[in-house]
Amino acid sequence: MNYNFTADEKTEMNDLISAVEDAKEADIKILFKKRSSIYLKSLNLRILQKLASEKNKTVTFDVENQSHKDYIDAVNGDFMESADDAVDLNMNTKMESVNKTSLIAKLFNMRKKFDTSDDSKSKKKGVKILIYIFVFLFIFVGGVFALWWYMPSASVKITVDSQILVKILDVKADPSATEVSIENSTIPAINVDVTVTESQTIPTTGKKEVGDNAKGKITFYNKTNDVITLKKGTIVKFISTDKESLKYETQENIDVSAQVTTENPPNSSTTEYGSKEANVKAVSFGEKYNQDSGEKFDVDGYDTDKLIAENKDKLDGGTLKELNVVTQADMDGLKRALDEFIKTKVVEALNKKVVSSQIFPESSAEFTTISGVFDKKLDEEGDELTLTMATKGVGIVYDQSILDQIVSELIKTVVPSEYSLDSGKPEYEVATTKAKAGTGIVDLQIKLRSYITPNLDEKKMISDMVGMKLDQAQSYLNSISSIKGFEISLSPQMPPILQTMPHISKNIEIIIDKK
């Protein structure tokens, strides 16, 4: 049959509505594949029928799942028995008794009819003939009955849906174990170790200033009438044009003599400031402290109208240089980076030690730093810093075939009792691994993915179906929820009235098709 639309498990109501609305044909046929679920609710199908009807179309449905044929036929035929919402609680038992009574009455009437028809008015000869006929008929019917009873055979092909079993299994890989333990979910493992030495160099990031202090001589001028004593270390300040104050300190104790005033009669006098030269030195490095001659300086603690200084010669010799030095951050960062790097090298080295049938879960690796040496100290001058480290790594390794072996055993414990495991190797993957610190044991989380099929008690099914009418057998098989579809083939073909399941159990064969 040609279908306008085939719906599978991904089909949604929107798709079906579009299929009905957009169809050019007036008679739309929709097939629902086995895994489709949208047809399971009859109201969805009613809605599609109503939508089609509004567009002067008709829609009929078909299903792949044979056990839903009656249901879909009922939807197509617009016939469904509906349950009442009112019940008479007294009726249940009463109805049963009425039915029984009427059945007895019917049997009684039949018996009476039979009795009255057994009115013996025939002659002896006729009776004889009748007896022969009865005997012949008895033998014939008996023969036919025996054939009907013993000969037919039936082949019942049952489809069951395999289901995916997804389970998480926890398995321990333990180096101290010597054999596989199903009970403890443990497999033996071995320790593998390597030592790796690596160096790494980074540019240093710290800065340090070095240089020489500017120095020279300056002369102090005392504008007071008292001697001014300046101790070694007295600060004199040069005020530059950009108002940066550059400080210098005296290098010795000095006394600056008081000013001297000389009277020049009759009305004038001259004053000569007291003066003293002293060595000074800039308080810090830098060329900016170098000064040309003739600059003026303030003296710390004195107003310029009392004490002032001036350099007759240049102040020079000031220099500045910036150097790279090692910082704590450089050392920490390098240690971290090399630590990470060396761990990858250790894992690489461990992997190289593993042979093809072995598995090394990288998360099992445990690392120990054996040595770590920096080529420079903290604050030491230098453009680069180098660290050389040696790290030991220990990993746990197990055999793939041993893991296969334990998974094959453990899977049997997780299959629900009403299911059986499909044959074939179970599919699984090691989802996560986690090493238990200090124990040397690795926990493997196994994500298992396998197929299981519902168990069917074939013997019981055969014994239940023996002698059943064909429709009874169909209902019986329909009632078993784990059966997704079935096909009954009877041999030889009989008239419908005689079509029953064989009366001999060995004549019924059940073939299970797992999908």
């Binding site: 929107n14 109201l43 109503k50 919402d85 009112a86």
Partner: protein, 389 residues
């Protein structure tokens, strides 16, 4: 019969409003007098057409609880969507000895019979609605009214009469879905106070002001519909067309991704688009709305046995904020095929009816989007009250 409940331990609890593709979580603090709840936190988790992932649920619930700063052990779970269904069963019993007073034992036997009858009816309905082989699990079973000789009574024990008529609302969930939810709750280390249907909690709240109405909860991926007569849910349905259908329709028309189309849809609802865009998007959404309306009509149509539907329609859920929903429902011609007694009246639910029971400290219950989850919160008060009785 009451909602099934296990004992609560602390004064805070969460409400988990589940559909198969979304979860709204609210956290409440119950004041010491137990008369009013304080809403302290909320979170929303969505997935488009996929079953919610466990970690999404876990994170969303944790987010809500951390907002509220409460120590929470208990959860009220509300389920919605096509994996859940409910109906009211009316059971009649003719008593053998009408003159003898009804005893506790007799009425309990009747209730047990009602429970069994509900389950039998549910099996038939499930076969009618669904080809799903998973089966179903019972959720709510609530006696909504008892009549003796056509007289409504509150407590039948000690009374006499010939005919007892019991109305019970029962609801069920797809078994696989139910187990999935319970596993999640167990993983979250919550004790489930009760598992109910959102349609029950919502109709219970709205029944305070109306007796007969249709309740439409237009959620993200599903629309739940319930018909309520005499304050009892008579039948409920759910179909797989919700607010996201409108978004998908916009994607078909204008292209782009889901997020962009959804933001256009919301902007349309808030009327913040320019005039030309309002017209353009209004036309697209109107077309999608017509499909939704057909689905709604099909849902009503499938409720056999209802001869005339209530005229009052309550709209709730985020999807109901689309103005086009009211517009298309108020059109005349579609109602010719659906038996309404009178012209319909549409009411959008708001948090107002929750104010009596909930102090909304985070101001999220205003609109219709969180109304349903809010009604689940109030279920706790109903359970406490039932305990006291």
């Amino acid at each position: 019969m009451k909602l099934p409940k296990s004992k609560a331990k602390k004064n805070g609890y969460v409400v988990l409003d589940f559909s198969p593709t979304s979860l709204k979580t609210l956290s409440f603090e119950q004041n010491s007098d137990s008369k009013k709840l304080s809403l302290k936190g909320f979170s929303i988790a969505d997935s488009y057409k996929d079953l919610l992932r466990k970690e999404v649920v876990t994170n969303s619930v944790k987010e809500c609880i951390s907002q509220s700063n409460l120590d929470i052990d208990d959860a009220i779970i509300g389920l919605s969507g096509p994996e859940v269904f409910g109906f009211t069963l009316i059971a009649k019993v003719k008593r053998k000895k009408p003159d003898i007073q009804i005893t506790e034992k007799e009425i309990q036997e009747n209730y047990d019979q009602v429970r069994d009858a509900c389950y039998e009816q549910a099996k038939k309905k499930w076969a009618y609605w669904s080809a799903d082989d998973d089966g179903f699990e019972p959720l709510d079973l609530v006696v909504t009214s008892v009549q003796i000789d056509e007289k409504l009574i509150s407590e039948p024990v000690g009374l006499t009469g010939e005919f007892v008529r019991i109305s019970a609302f029962c609801s069920y969930s797809n078994k696989k879905y139910y187990k999935w939810i319970l596993n999640l709750i167990s993983d979250l280390k919550f004790a489930s106070v009760t598992v109910t249907t959102t349609i029950y909690s919502e109709s219970k709240n709205l029944s305070e002001s109306s007796k007969n109405f249709i309740l439409v909860d237009l959620g993200k991926d599903y629309t739940d519909v319930a018909v309520v007569f005499g304050k009892n849910i008579i039948q409920s349905r759910s179909f797989e067309i919700g607010g996201s259908y409108f978004t998908r329709h916009l994607i078909d028309k204008i292209g782009g991704d889901y997020v962009a189309a959804n933001s256009k849809k919301e902007a349309y609802s808030l009327e913040t688009l320019d005039e030309a865009s309002m017209d353009k998007f209004g036309d697209f959404l109107y077309d999608a709305g017509k499909v939704w309306r057909t689905a709604f009509a099909a849902a009503l149509d499938s409720m056999v046995g209802i001869k005339s539907f209530p005229q009052k329609i309550y709209l709730s859920g985020g999807g109901s904020m689309l103005p086009v929903i009211q517009e298309i429902l108020l059109e005349d011609h579609w109602r010719k095929a659906v038996p309404f007694a009178n012209d319909i009246e549409i009411i959008t639910t708001t948090g107002k009816s929750l104010e009596e029971n909930i102090s909304d400290e985070i101001n999220i219950l205003k609109g219709s989007r969180m109304f349903v989850s809010g009604t689940l919160g109030v279920i706790k008060l109903e359970l406490d009250q039932a305990d006291e009785l």
